[in-house]
Amino acid sequence: DTAVSQTPKYLVTQMGNDKSIKCEQNLGHDTMYWYKQDSKKFLKIMFSYNNKELIINETVPNRFSPKSPDKAHLNLHINSLELGDSAVYFCASSQGYQGAFFGQGTRLTVV
């Protein structure tokens, strides 16, 4: 009974490719996020959506584009992948003052 699910869990791809990571939450939350885990295990927020509207858009390359077809989904599309995009990406959702629920993360490896 997964609350926040990301697919795929592992993604290995070549430089220059375009790939998407999908995220779905079944909690009825209004807000969803994408984070990038850096080498020091810090989480850097990339995007935040509330009811399908973009709320937070941190400084990330234009090659990263979030898409929220509905409140339960927030997908991350990455164009022209570069070696430096290799990282773990987390999706999360939250509702008001409730705690956030994290997905299991997607390990992206660009070769």
Partner: protein
């Protein structure tokens, strides 16, 4: 199977007192532990961390204690302030620096005036 557990979903503490947030883990291979703080509708921000070779790390009002034998860590906030009201996430990672962080489900801390 939850590898990082925060068994208290919420906690209320009087302003000025000590807040203690607890976290238990099941995998003895974890070697690095982190605490994140999250305000409503914002993303979690890193608060403090501790390596498994230490049993205490202090940063201002925040101290994290690690008890490896009990597989338990705690975050102490002294003194608690109104701005500390937030959700706190415990997280853990393995020795491989490329491994994912494993998160607990969070504890909501409410500081009472």
């Amino acid at each position: 199977d939850q590898q990082v557990k925060q068994n208290s979903p919420s906690l209320s503490v009087q302003e000025g007192r000590i807040s203690i947030l607890n976290c238990d883990y099941t995998n003895s291979m974890f070697d690095y532990f982190l605490w994140y703080k999250k305000y409503p509708a914002e993303g979690p921000t890193f608060l403090i961390s501790i390596s498994s070779i230490k049993d205490k790390n202090e940063d201002g009002r925040f101290t994290v204690f690690l008890n490896k034998s009990a597989k338990h860590l705690s975050l102490h906030i002294v003194p608690s302030q109104p701005g500390d009201s937030a959700v706190y996430f415990c997280a853990a990672s393995f020795p491989n620096r490329d491994d994912k962080i494993i998160f607990g489900k969070g504890t909501r801390l409410h500081i009472l005036p």
